[in-house]
Symmetry: C2
Subunit: 220 residues, 2 copies
């Protein structure tokens, strides 16, 4: 496995791309990429720090110059996952018309993200790292992920919805999407394999959305 010439877009350019460099040039990025690949193949528990170094074509202790340890690497990947999920949610919110469709679309897209990269999603929600409090950046990225949902929900329920009610509704919606994704990932949902238009998820999401609005309207 030959070393790839560094291709950093924002890092320092290497001196001699043709010569086999003692210094990798963009190791951190390469390690994250290798680890992300290995993660989806083997899962977070089986992912070995040494294997990541091996895959990046570097000695087993080189990664310690860029990460405090294995957990730090996993946390970095999880954070990137949340950033990607946030981008996907923002895009989904733009793709669907406001209202029930947007809410349902956000939920389905959320689940699709989890299904497309189940190991990453599992990592993002606890597997491999015991205490996320040690990584406040990850927690922040996690919270930012759900801004689109919160916004869409506010639109859906109407501007005159009390803030407390909106907050509860957002928590419920988030919890529902997350719960459905988890159940889908570990095979607890007996429905169709693909998260399609007719799967149990959409039914649950639509039911939830309609019911939520009805309850909010009734509460006024």
């Amino acid at each position: 496995m030959t070393k790839l010439p560094p291709e950093s877009s924002s890092g320092k350019p290497p001196a001699q791309p043709t010569r086999r460099a003692y210094h990798h040039g963009d190791l951190k990025r390469a390690l994250i990429a290798a680890a992300t690949d290995l993660l989806e193949q083997e899962g977070a528990e089986a992912l070995s720090f040494r294997a990541v170094a091996r895959a990046a074509g570097v000695s087993q202790s080189a990664p310690y110059n860029h990460f405090a340890g294995k957990e730090d690497l996993l946390a970095t990947i999880a954070e990137a996952g949340f950033v990607a999920l946030a981008a996907a949610q923002t895009a989904a919110a733009r793709r669907w018309p406001a209202g029930e469709d947007r809410l349902t679309g956000l939920g389905l897209d959320y689940i699709r993200f989890a299904v497309a990269q189940p190991q990453l999603y599992r990592l993002m929600f606890g597997v491999g790292v015991n205490d996320w409090h040690a990584y406040p950046d990850v927690s922040a990225a996690k919270r930012a992920t759900f801004a689109p949902l919160h916004h869409a929900l506010g639109e859906f329920l109407g501007a005159d919805t009390p803030a407390a009610t909106l907050e509860q509704a957002a928590v419920a919606a988030w919890g529902l999407a997350h719960g459905l994704a988890m159940l889908r990932i570990d095979g607890s949902l007996a429905g169709r394999d693909r998260v399609g238009e007719a799967g149990p998820e959409e039914g649950a999401l639509r039911l939830f959305g309609r019911g939520l609005r009805a309850a909010c309207v009734a509460a006024r």
Copy 2:
């Protein structure tokens, strides 16, 4: 750490409780107990098979006479966790009056179970074991856990609710409870520390329940 005399209630009684036996007498049970204790202290990732043997006062390879490996032990503990959760749900259903209160109570009690033993709950839902399909007993125990919820939901929505709708509602309720529990466990919920009457969970659950019934009534 001296060896405890075996206290099996259903296993074979030991010959001489006073003498230090070469054979433990009830090792499997002791290993499960030790592992369950260690699990809550260190988490599933940090739990070592050897440490479990050490805690049980036995050599490091003795556990292999009772479990195929570390995953097998973890799966056994997870299965016991689902059985305990199922019992708690059944008890909760009996404790609350039928209707919205019972539904909300089931959800809150579900979350309380997770909060009381977060590491066990994390283990039950994927941490430490990559592929639950290898342990069909665990999957069966998991499904059985949600029978009380399904039943209470059927009562709550009325007997004339279509089966498909009920199924979707159950999936949604399950997903919601699970999602809320996960969010609570990893500190994503900013509300009060204890899962009390005024936490965001109860609001979300009540909103969900009321909305669900409204949506089902409207669908008729």
